[in-house]
Subunit: 241 residues, 2 copies
Amino acid sequence: MPDPPPHASADVLRRLALHATSIATRQGQKLALGSSHGPSAFLVRKGTFVTYVTLPDARRRIMSVFYPGDIIGAPLVPPLVRAVLCAATASGEVWRLPWSRLEQLAATDTGFARLLTANLIDQAARQAIHALRIGALSGTERVASFLIELALRTGTPLDRGLAFELPLARAGLADYLALNPDTVSRIVSRLKTRGLLSQSGRRHIHCRDLDALGKECPLSSAIAELHLGARAPCPKGADQP
Amino acid sequence: MPDPPPHASADVLRRLALHATSIATRQGQKLALGSSHGPSAFLVRKGTFVTYVTLPDARRRIMSVFYPGDIIGAPLVPPLVRAVLCAATASGEVWRLPWSRLEQLAATDTGFARLLTANLIDQAARQAIHALRIGALSGTERVASFLIELALRTGTPLDRGLAFELPLARAGLADYLALNPDTVSRIVSRLKTRGLLSQSGRRHIHCRDLDALGKECPLSSAIAELHLGARAPCPKGADQP
DNA sequence: CGAATGGTTGATGAAAGTCAATACGGGTGG
DNA sequence: CCACCCGTATTGACTTTCATCAACCATTCG
């Protein structure tokens, strides 16, 4: 770990809260990356969010998944292809502020600047891992690596393993992992048959033995290193801007 | 284009030159991303460079391609998997300086800070395009999109088209495009047969009609938008640090 | 000129995509 | 609380694409 985990200190958050508006989100809600007042920045507080683009031939690709603590800046999202920020989980919360305000804060508030840099570097690393996932792994390996990521980031201990919610439906998983919905379904079924996962309802996954799942993909140790330190969501202390 | 093209102004470069060491590189030369003095930063002056990682199962993946004007910071390269920076073209030149020095410069020199930010955002956009390339395009589309990128970035006008050098051999192309060397070879052959490309020697490509090549891939307009503005290599004016 | 490296190409197989029929889950209204 | 309905998920049959292996060819460099 090059840097301490990106735990926003409560102080920094309190200062940030002075400039931000809290937004409660529902599943599928889209958030404009910019308005007439210029580009926006978002801090994820609760839930999972994704950015996606739609290609000329109507294919959709999910570019990134964001977790609590992540900072999303309109200028950092692919500026060419039309990108959309969208709430993935049933309920979520983000803080929004103008990108210019965020830049200003970064210039004047050392604590915030450090937080921002650490988070952006963390995101770049995740992006790199994801590029590897898509470019170098088989379907099963891709699914396994993402499930491990979700388990470590968002999971809660249960019965000697981890339980977590899928922030994406089959089609969303497929769009993120560069696979087909049918293929994702087959792969998940196979993992369940082999006893590596169990599912209750459509979105609840329980993985009894994360190490066994880790054996399914060559990137598991890198993913563990990245996400273990970052597990804690935003610290409490500045709950309402 | 959100920002002016990242032409380093000669002034900024002159200031940067005071802190940097020039390194002439040959094909395949590896550059350490950090030393005992801490992480390094590089500014590409001439030639093409790549970063790659080697997966546990010995597969190699090229993560990024860098062109003149790009700034490479050790902390920004995937910090988990062991990454290597490597000169791709026969001869190249980079300036190296300690990452801490670069940070310091960015904090005190507004012109340089702007240059750095613009370049990092440009790189992020290219990274996003590349993720799309690998995740959403077929083999032929991937190859076409990369050739268009190279033509626009590094090509010189020739006979109503563009001529350029491949910075990577077949295996390198394959590692970057998430394909097999054999498959890349087949695809390039097919493009040549169809008259979209012609090749002289092993690494010289001539594309008579870039629009025709553009029709082979859905991302061509995004790529054109990104790379057209950035064609000019580093301006002259501070040639030796 | 000849060895070595890298490129091409054909035959084959495995993995994932596509299409279509069917099953399930979760919400709604009776 | 149950029955129904819609959207989503699963699964099978088939096709396409790409990877693999192996043999052969072309460049380049000593």
